[in-house]
Amino acid sequence: MRFVRFSAILICTGLLFGCGTKGDDTKKSELALIKTTNPSPSVLDHRTEKNVDMAEGIKEEIQNYKEIYDAAIIKGDKDILVAYKVKHMYRFQMKKIEKDLKKKLEKKYPDEKFTISSDYKIFLEAVRLQEKMKNPDFSRKEANKKLQDIIKLQQEMT
Amino acid sequence: MLMGKQSWVFQNKPVIAATGVTGGPFEANGKLAADFDILHDDLWIDEDSYEKAHRVLIEEACETVLKKANLQEEDIHFFIAGDLINQITPTSFSARTNQIPYFGIFGACSTSMEGLALASFMIDHGGAKNIITGSGSHNAAAERQFRYPTEYGGQKPPTAQWTVTGAGFALVKENDGTDENCPVTVSATIGKVVDMGLTDPFNMGGAMAPAATDTILAHFKDLNLDASYYDLIVTGDLGEIGRNTSYELLTNAGVKMDKEKYQDCGLLIYKEDQPVNSGASGSGCSAAVLYGHLLNQMKKGKYKRILVVATGALLSPMSFQQGESIPCIAHAVSIEMP
């Protein structure tokens, strides 16, 4: 009886973790949450010098934060998505960091619309999008649509 | 006949002529499995509720008694029994089945000895010739009424006790000399309600110990006996804590007795490795152990005179929630081999 009970628990947990790890393609994006990926910023817009510079500038700005250790930046047609990871011990102040960073970036680039998130999901999606963009068949239009989806996801905060 | 303040002496020595004991799966794994007449391997006993299963336990025990005694329901004059469930429905419903004139009694876990004392008294005074008396309890039915649903993961403290699934019934008969090698009831002491102010429903043994002590002392005083008269003094369901506490209370009151002689039904029925915390409890506990194991031992000659002190905690889930303490009672019946 004891054994039956115990194996029931084991099977349940096994199922749980089994589901969690299915699909073992080791693309960079799949490990994005476990490892520090530090992707270089991408620009969906016309890859003008200005845009690239700006993306790099944002990246540098973020690297000045000692609380942040990993950031993905995507510059779209209208929006800039900034997803980053906060060092665990600073997660208590996550909301404050987010506000602070947003203010700073908006001050530096007043003409741009920023979407800032420390959410793992947003980071993951950002890295996934960057991965897709490496594929030359992936059109800019599609990429921008995907970016809008991510931004929408970030806004529905319940 | 009344003797002393609260005791009866049965001069005609009514006979416990036959017994029937039923139990559930947990009891089947226990120490006394061999002393049960019927053991079920499922708590539901093929019924669709625990209360109905409880009724079946009682019915089967009664049927066993009748079969062993070779009697019909019509030969029995009264049925004196009770259980723990609200309005003692399982017992009343089995009285509906067997159609024997019925006294429903409630003394919580002391019901078994309350019934035996009353039955012996009635027979001793010619009020009846054959009476079936006993009591039963069902673990899950009691659990869901007094505590939580059976599947609820509440942690029971080490003071808690495990309600027995089982029933023990006996035929008490006028002593007409035809029943040889059958134990007889000699005297009984009816206890008074004792409340020492304990409020923890997970520590029944501690609450009931003073009641058991009170009744034992009254018994010795009324009948002018001491502990050496008995081969065994057995309490109903005090468990480990209650047994140790009442033993100290008795010692403090000047009773000298070997601790081996002072046993508890709640500690006899299960094996040490069964997860019952402090011991067994429930109105079926003292009934099943006495009418099964202890009477068998007496017939084998291990004991000649025993005093059975069934203890009951007279609480309800409501009284506990309303902040009342736990009043307790104990009834003692002395049983001897002729």
Partner: protein, 158 residues
Amino acid sequence: MSSKQKKKTPEQQKYDILQKKHETKRPVLKNCLRAFLVGGIICTIGQAITYFYIYFFNFTEQTAGNPTVATMVFLAMLLTGFGVYDHIGQYGGAGSAVPVTGFSNAVVSAAIEHRTEGLVLGVGGNIFKLAGSVIVFGVFAAFVVALIKTILINWGVL
């Protein structure tokens, strides 16, 4: 507790002391260790489920809480139904009662226990027999807290 103590007669108090001597003490330290272990494991499983939803479905860290809770409730229902959860509860104590699985266990155990009294009066009437007080006090406390906070914000104190 002290007011109850006062009501006791001297005789009862004396007995209380004597009885306490024989009462098996609750193994507080052992219970706490087990509660820590079981509670920790349940929360870790919850975390794994959260990441599962983040990885494979469109949930952010913020929104993944809802499906996670629902999944944990479901798993606890299975464990309760198969008669495992009450054994976990006896081992883990608060470790299995405090997580939302314990809430689920309280609801499900009451529901299946009262199935014998019918679906409407039994299951419907008793399903919140144990968990009801949690909802009542949660809602009332939340009401008071939110009311005070809203008033303070309106007054400009906060």
